[in-house]
């Protein structure tokens, strides 16, 4: 991670944590504007932050991690005046899903280590361990996919990568939300506990800006049109230096 990105993360993380799911535009947007966050992707020449898509990933992911109540990613994309809003928003939601999955995973692990049943912590039970391990794999995949899409956006043409990332993140929502709730039992089902704002958003973001069917059909028809013999060549050429 670059130094500016680390600084960005260090600024945004406590800010979003403090605002959380309860953040509302009327009260909290001014603070975000003060810090220039809605202009993250506006070029410096136009008075913006001049951030890259990797910077955007950092902010979007943390907005997801803290289930930020204000749709800051949408505001950032709107001000960026991008060519393809749906694609950019699909990327934003993929990053938010990645962040929210990591947050739900962290909650689940902490709870499993703390909650005692049958005289030992839940985390000691192999069945619980195996579920959480699978959850971690899905969260990892969503995070890597978001990162790959951000890199591709910074390189230029990223339609394939964003489609793949949103699809992969969408798919991770299924296991993430079910394991998180399963591990938490009844407490995860309450209004007061921190899990519900995360899973509510995860289910929402999975549908927004292209569900699984939409992106898989779009991606699949492109791959099929290019043909079997081009698939691996295309995949490797996308990351090699030209």
């Amino acid at each position: 991670m670059s130094d500016t990105r680390r600084m960005l993360a260090e600024m945004v993380d406590p800010l979003f944590a403090g605002m959380g799911a309860a953040a509302i535009v009327e009260r909290d947007l001014a603070r975000l504007e003060e810090l220039g966050l809605p202009n993250l992707l506006v070029p410096e020449a136009e008075g913006g932050f001049g951030g890259s898509w990797l910077d955007a990933l950092t902010v979007f992911r943390l907005a997801g991690y803290h289930a930020l109540g204000i749709d800051l990613p949408k505001l950032i994309v709107k001000r960026a005046a991008v060519a393809d809003t749906k694609l950019s928003m699909a990327f934003a939601r993929a990053c938010q899903i990645a962040g929210a999955l990591d947050a739900a995973l962290a909650l689940s692990i902490a709870y499993a280590n703390e909650r005692q049943q049958f005289g030992r912590p839940l985390g000691k039970f192999q069945a619980v361990q195996q579920s959480l391990a699978s959850f971690a794999c899905e969260a990892a995949a969503a995070n890597c996919a978001a990162m790959g899409a951000a890199q591709a956006l910074d390189r230029g043409n990223a339609e394939f990568e964003v489609a793949a990332a949103k699809l992969r993140a969408n798919r991770a929502v299924e296991m993430g939300t079910s394991v998180a709730h399963q591990v938490h039992g009844a407490i995860g089902f309450t209004e007061e506990y921190a899990l519900a704002p995360l899973t509510r958003r995860l289910w929402q973001w999975r549908s927004e800006f292209g569900n699984d069917a939409y992106w898989s059909a779009r991606l699949g028809s492109k791959v099929i049109a290019r043909g079997a013999d081009r698939f691996w060549r295309d995949l490797s050429a996308r990351t090699d230096h030209s």
Binding site: A133, A164, S236
Partner: protein, 378 residues
């Protein structure tokens, strides 16, 4: 928290040229039959391995002094992912190039290194790994094959099983109990055993497809010189498990069914079927994601980090992916179609062998247990 710290992989400038080199070589000397291209890292072809050796594509990262080519870890990664994506028959040298050579270079004495490493890099010496025993599978610390001192020599007795490629290998690196009466992880050592040493017997185990990949290997008073000991006496457990973490995240953990996916893409191109389009899209997205994850771990390994948790995650996801492909293809494609013949043949082959994908290199249950520990579940 972020379980899998991802970052940009800086692919080598030579990648395009290396890919072209591998593609030409595979086009000339590889397998045509898609069934034979599936799960290709278990398919031995010593002649192909020698071609790779001649081309400088084995032992790529090793010192020139030992027959290597001093290329970067990521250059090697480019080569192996190209070979696997093309379904090249790399089974003969796979283990030696991936882990036995590096292990010998790291821990071997000079005689062992000079005897084996240059021959591996030429594609002439192949290796097998002696871990499992009749009573010792996932519970590796229960090995009973023994080494006892006799003057300066060591005498090996016991049995290994499920030994991949023992019948085509020139040597084995075996984990054995070198301290009588020791228990579990203590008292284990690694030895380099020439397969033509007197007292070594190899018996084939034929798998459910009729193929000969596994073997039983018996040691009957096999006498080894003192310097056949690899690394430090009694440190075998640590040495062997460090080796395992290196092998978990390679591209072979997600590409074993790639040829079937490509045949699915070809088949889907002959019709308009939304269900097939979606399946192709989903599998393509997963391949792209897994490639990023696997390469990201390779980049960390190249920098000398030990991303053990990430590597284990790649193995679990990758195995599940390569295992799911044949099931999903079978569910989606009508094998009664005349033009589905190739697809059907590859699919049925992979349906039979794919259960092994989540067994080899650590079972899914063991792997998830390791991930859980890495997550801090206690």
């Amino acid at each position: 928290m972020q379980t899998f710290a991802t970052e940009a992989v800086d692919w080598p400038d030579t990648a395009t040229r290396l890919r072209d080199q591998v593609r030409d070589l595979v086009a000339q000397h590889g397998e045509r039959d898609p069934v034979r291209r599936a799960n290709s890292w278990t398919k031995p072809n010593p002649a192909f391995s020698r071609k790779l050796g001649d081309a400088g594509l084995l032992g790529m990262t090793w010192p020139k002094e030992y027959g290597g080519h001093e290329r970067s870890q990521l250059e090697r990664y480019v080569v192996i992912e190209e070979l696997l994506a093309a379904g090249a028959p790399v089974g003969a040298h796979w283990i030696a190039d991936r882990q036995s050579g590096p292990l010998l270079l790291r821990l071997g004495n000079d005689r062992l290194k000079r005897r084996w490493v240059p021959a591996i890099a030429r594609g002439e010496a192949f290796a097998c790994i002696g871990l499992s025993e009749p009573g010792s599978g996932s519970d590796l610390a229960s090995v009973r094959t023994s080494a006892r001192r006799d003057g300066d020599d060591w005498i090996i007795n016991g049995q290994k099983v499920w030994t991949t490629g023992a019948h085509i290998s020139q040597f084995m690196i075996a984990l054995v109990r070198s301290e009588a009466g020791s228990e579990r992880q203590a008292g284990l050592s690694q030895f380099v055993i020439p397969m033509d040493a007197p007292g070594v017997t190899v018996k084939p185990i034929i798998d459910l497809t009729g193929a000969h990949e596994f073997n039983e290997v018996f040691f009957d008073d096999v006498r080894l010189p003192a310097d056949a000991l690899l690394g430090v006496e009694g440190e075998g457990w640590k040495q062997a498990t460090a080796e395992l973490s290196l092998e978990r995240s390679g591209p072979e953990r997600y590409l074993s069914s790639m040829v079937l996916f490509l045949e699915l893409v070809r088949y889907a191109g002959t019709r308009t079927d939304p269900a097939l389009q979606q399946l192709v899209g989903r599998l393509a997205a997963e391949a792209w994601t897994l490639r990023l994850m696997s390469a990201s771990v390779a980049a960390k390994l190249a920098r000398g980090e030990d991303p053990a948790l990430e590597a284990t995650i790649v193995k679990d996801l990758g195995n599940s992916y390569e295992q799911a492909i044949p099931q999903l293809v079978q569910a989606a494609v009508d094998f009664g179609d005349a033009d589905a013949e190739v697809l059907r043949a590859v699919c049925f082959y992979l349906l039979q062998v794919s259960p092994s994908f989540s067994l080899r290199g650590g079972t899914r249950e063991i792997i998830r247990g390791i991930i859980a520990r890495g997550l801090g579940l206690r």
